[in-house]
Amino acid sequence: MDDIPAEIIQEMDDLYDRVPQLSSRYKLLDKIGEGTFSSVYKAQDLSKVSSKLYPDHFWDKNDKYVAIKRIYVTSSPNRIENELKLLELLSNSNNVAPLCDAIRYHDQVVVVLPWYPHEEFRHFYRDMPIKGIKKYMFELLSALKYVHSFGIIHRDVKPTNFLYNPMLGRGVLVDFGLAEENEELYLPDLNYRVYTNDQGEKVCSCSSPYAHNKNTSHLPLISIQNGQLNVRGTNELSAAQSENSMKAELSKGYPKHETRRQRRANRAGTRGFRAPEVLMKCSFQTQKIDIWSVGVILLSFISRRFPIFQSMDDVDAFLEICCIFGIKPMQEVAKFHGLGLDMTKIPGFHSEGYPGGLQGFVKMLLEKEVDHGTLPEYSIAFETLDYLTQYDKQLTPSLGPEDEEDTEDKIRMYKQAVWDDHFWCFDLLSKCFELNAYKRPSANDLLEHLWFKELNEDLLDRDQRREDHFTGVVE
């Protein structure tokens, strides 16, 4: 305890004071994190009950510590209850931190979770080999598959909330403080969130007139023409016509004194990780918003940049996405959500997206690093750059090594694997970044992706072995 700064000790003492029951069960050791809504401390589990509850979650069998999350007293009880409820519900996965204990004294609530010996993202994202990235994504998507299957959106998927240990290849999703549970999201088929409009196009339900307040939906239907009142119904055709011309006018400019209400939607999350539909304030958000965040993390890995988006605010975030993916695709997705997008005469934006797509974007970023010599000699990023400078020369990846016995030519095989993994990695990346949430694949879909073939086979093997084991017992 000598080497802990005085302020931290003071903070921990304060926590003992605030929660008198705490000291009999746990001994606070250090502060290990601080977020928007909580601080996290590492502690010893004096009664050893917490560590017994979920043995698989205590990665280090010798040092079973717990993490104590102190939820700030400024959080509403409803928010805290929601978090506790979700943690309780999600306590049956190796990839989600389960709730070991919870204590309240007055307004101070502490939540006890297993402590995970993990590594910070910024310590390994520059050096993680492609197969290591694959394992990270597999663990993360497995966690999300589990969470999403309960009709829960995490809403705050980012490296800080996914505790990962590269040595073990294990990761757990934490922090359900912003998570959202919705009965409707239980349904495996989220088709109800899309409907076909008058023009026969599939659009998001958030653009439906029924999604809006009834009292205002009639507004555009009334007009005065030549001193005569025009209401849809009495003079339907001309009313519709004038309505359209009026709307056309409003697409060229905006009222100087805005009287209309703002579009409303949940946009809880972290800047830089918000999906386009969140930025467009879609009122029918789904689990797919988490998949977008997964894409942001993967892009960080493969381009060796963190963070990817600066996004000082939602407008900047929107424009940053436009920079990479292009104005036209953004217009399409805006339309899907009932919005019009006009971006004209702005230098620096490509209408079709960054030249060469995500590959071109990553290549450019890596080349800039090479220009400045900011990557180390041993950098694994050169594999990616090498792949990107020649990937158009080979059209299809191989589907795994053909001759597994060929240990002589280890380098050739390794090279082939690097190539394949990169190919599928970029494929998965583009799928996570599908702008249209409706078309974006689910965590479940992505886990079936060819990139994860070897990991899925491992799982099958393990299941097979277990099955063999059991049948053996029976015999």
Partner: protein
């Protein structure tokens, strides 16, 4: 108009039924004459009015609650005191409002209860002739049509459609509703109950209306009573209001709002509108296709602004930079080709090499991390407690020969050394401080001891925000404070937006500099101990197992600053912003909230669940 006649009325007053609707007699009554004729009856009438003064309350409740059944009964009641209304209303003075209310008080015993009021009122009705009623109605109809301007002094309250109902009702009488208060207004309808106008401030609308003298001030109840006497079917108005139905040719408000939004249709549709801002310059406009909601983004820049700010863009563009930086941020002022930075980077990369190579070995052949040989473990400098197996073949990772020779930190360093060796040996920068951009990326980050590293670690994190936007959504800027605060209005104007951004940028800049300042003092110990860096990085427990150094060099005021503890923020429970968390938590209001167990019932039941589960597993 025919709609305004109700069946119950026709039944109770067969003579008058329908008459007023078409206004067949069109008698032009002098107001004074009417008043005089009524004055004689005033005493009696006042009594009647007193008796029913409370009935309108019930009536208004009907308007609020939507229980339409009581409406007819009340209408009959209201009808009985019509002549009184005539007297008071036509006397064209607000002062008459108060006596009515007072009288209501006197007779509260009767009026307080709905049904006795009805009975007594019914009895009184007999005394009033139908003719008088019709006269009164016709007279008011004229006034309403010709020169009535109504101003509503009511704040819009959710789930309260009283204002809307009244607005609809007055519109059927032909009255005009004013959006703003001005001298044209003749009737002010208020939701407030004021008995003494002198208490109001001079700027208060009611006070102004009162001073004008000619304006009538009606409470919502009074207005409802009046409308019922005019045989306006409030019940139907309410139904329309709830269904959001527009009353053809009647809903002035909608017309006004439509016109405000879309412009008058009398204008040339091709002509530009004064009330719209048209884009002339490069712009971003994200708007609702249905034009129901306000636009999400309205941004516009003059070409010269864009060009003038080449270095610092006015909007986000790709500025790739290097060294792991955000592709939209660029390297900015940092020149990565500076000798000082080249040397530092080279040293850092050297220190990190064994960790990077270990990662390569782990994930060389499989996405499942390989179990590594002990020699590699040692190489990584880690005292790994996890079981490991010796593997002869995996001591050195494969490094592919590449198509091109890629410039890297080692080459940069060698170039620098060779160019400088002609003159002198390159000197390592003194103190070898760490600056801002090394903290987020450096593998050594965890090795910086004490408060500085805590501070750096906790503050570099981009935090969640936008929690409250379900209710008060915004395009607003990133989280300042604790992120719980409801977001402010969206569509901030450009200046305000950039101001807000500057606040955030400066905030993070301050954090970074303070972190780097303190890091500077600890940097020495860090760089002296390169092995430690590697071992830390290679250690699975690295984030916390690092031995932290004491920092005597830290300035006292920095020590006094609570680390990372957000001082300013928003309390969801008290619904207030605070400057100091410490101070806020000790306010009476917050303590009162904290001590009430009822607030935490949901939380407690969840905690109970967990405790039961623990109890089962205790054995």
């Amino acid at each position: 108009m025919a709609k305004t006649t109700r069946t119950p009325l026709q039944e109770s007053n067969p003579n008058t039924a329908g008459n007023h609707v078409h206004n067949p007699k069109k008698r032009s009554l002098d107001l004074l004459e009417l008043e005089q004729s009524n004055r004689q009856k005033q005493r009696t009438l006042r009594t009647i009015e007193g008796a029913i003064a409370h009935a309108p309350n019930a009536l208004l409740k009907t308007v609020q609650g939507g229980t339409a059944n009581t409406f007819n009964a009340n209408a009959t009641v209201a009808k009985s005191y019509v002549p009184v209304a005539t007297t008071t209303s036509n006397s064209a003075s607000v002062s008459t409002v108060s006596p009515i209310i007072n009288n209501g008080g006197e007779h509260g015993i009767i009026g307080g209860n709905g049904s006795p009021a009805i009975t007594s009122a019914k009895a009184q009705t007999q005394r009033l002739s139908n003719k008088e009623l019709i006269d009164w109605q016709n007279n008011w109809r004229k006034i309403m049509k010709r020169d009535t301007f109504i101003y509503f002094d009511c704040s819009e309250v959710a789930n309260d459609n009283r204002k809307d109902v009244l607005r609809r009702a007055f519109f059927t009488l032909g009255a005009k509703v004013k959006q703003f208060f001005d001298h044209e207004v003749t009737i002010v309808i208020t939701s407030r109950k004021i008995s003494n106008y002198s208490q109001l401030t001079d700027t208060d609308i009611l006070q102004r209306a009162h001073k004008q003298g000619y304006m009538k001030i009606w409470t919502l109840e009074k207005a409802a009573r009046f409308l019922t006497n005019m045989d306006v079917d409030l019940k139907e108005m309410e139904r329309d209001s709830i269904n959001g139905k527009t009353v053809p040719a009647s809903n002035l408000l909608n017309l006004l709002e439509s016109e405000k939004l879309f412009g008058s249709n009398e204008r040339d549709p091709k002509a530009k509108r004064d009330d719209l801002h048209y884009f002339k310059h490069p712009h971003v406009y994200l708007y609702d296709l249905a034009q129901i909601n306000a636009p999400l983004i309205t941004l516009e820049w003059k070409a010269q602004d864009i060009n003038a700010n080449k270095k610092k863009n006015v909007y986000p563009t790709i500025r790739p930079g290097s060294f792991g930086r955000c592709p939209f941020q660029g390297d900015d002022a940092t020149d990565e080709l500076q000798p000082r930075r080249i040397i530092k980077r080279y040293k850092r990369d050297k220190a990190n090499e064994s960790y990077a190579l270990k990662l390569r070995l782990l994930y060389q052949t499989s996405a499942e991390p390989a179990t590594l040989s002990s020699s590699v473990q040692e190489n990584g400098g880690s005292e790994d407690q996890f079981p490991s197996f010796y593997d002869h073949s995996s001591n050195q990772p494969i490094i592919l020969p590449f198509q091109n020779v890629y410039n890297n930190s080692g080459m940069q360093y060698n170039k620098l050394v060779s160019s400088m060796s002609r003159f002198k040996q390159p000197k390592l920068p003194r103190g070898d401080t760490f600056d801002d951009d090394e903290l987020p990326y450096g593998n050594g980050g965890g090795a910086i001891g004490g408060a500085a590293s805590y501070k750096a670690k906790f503050q570099q994190e981009i935090r969640a925000s936008g929690v409250q936007s379900v209710d008060a959504n915004s395009n607003g800027s990133a989280a300042v404070g604790n992120g719980l605060e409801p977001a402010t209005a969206s569509n901030l104007n450009k200046d305000l937006r950039s101001l807000k951004k500057m606040v955030i940028e400066r905030k993070s800049l301050l954090n970074v500099t303070s972190a780097s300042n303190t890091a500077g003092s600890t940097g020495q110990s860090k760089t002296q101990n390169n092995d430690a860096v590697a071992s830390v990085a290679g250690h699975p427990n690295c984030t916390t197992s690092v031995k932290k150094q004491h920092l005597p060099s830290l300035t006292p005021q920095r020590l006094h600053q609570p680390i990372g503890k957000q001082t300013a923020g928003y309390c969801e429970n008290c619904k207030v912003k605070y400057d100091s968390l410490e101070a806020h938590v000790n306010t009476e209001r917050h303590i009162a909230f904290a001590r009430k167990d009822e607030h935490f019932e949901g939380v407690d039941s969840m905690i109970q669940c967990v405790q039961q589960f623990r109890d089962i597993n205790r054995v």
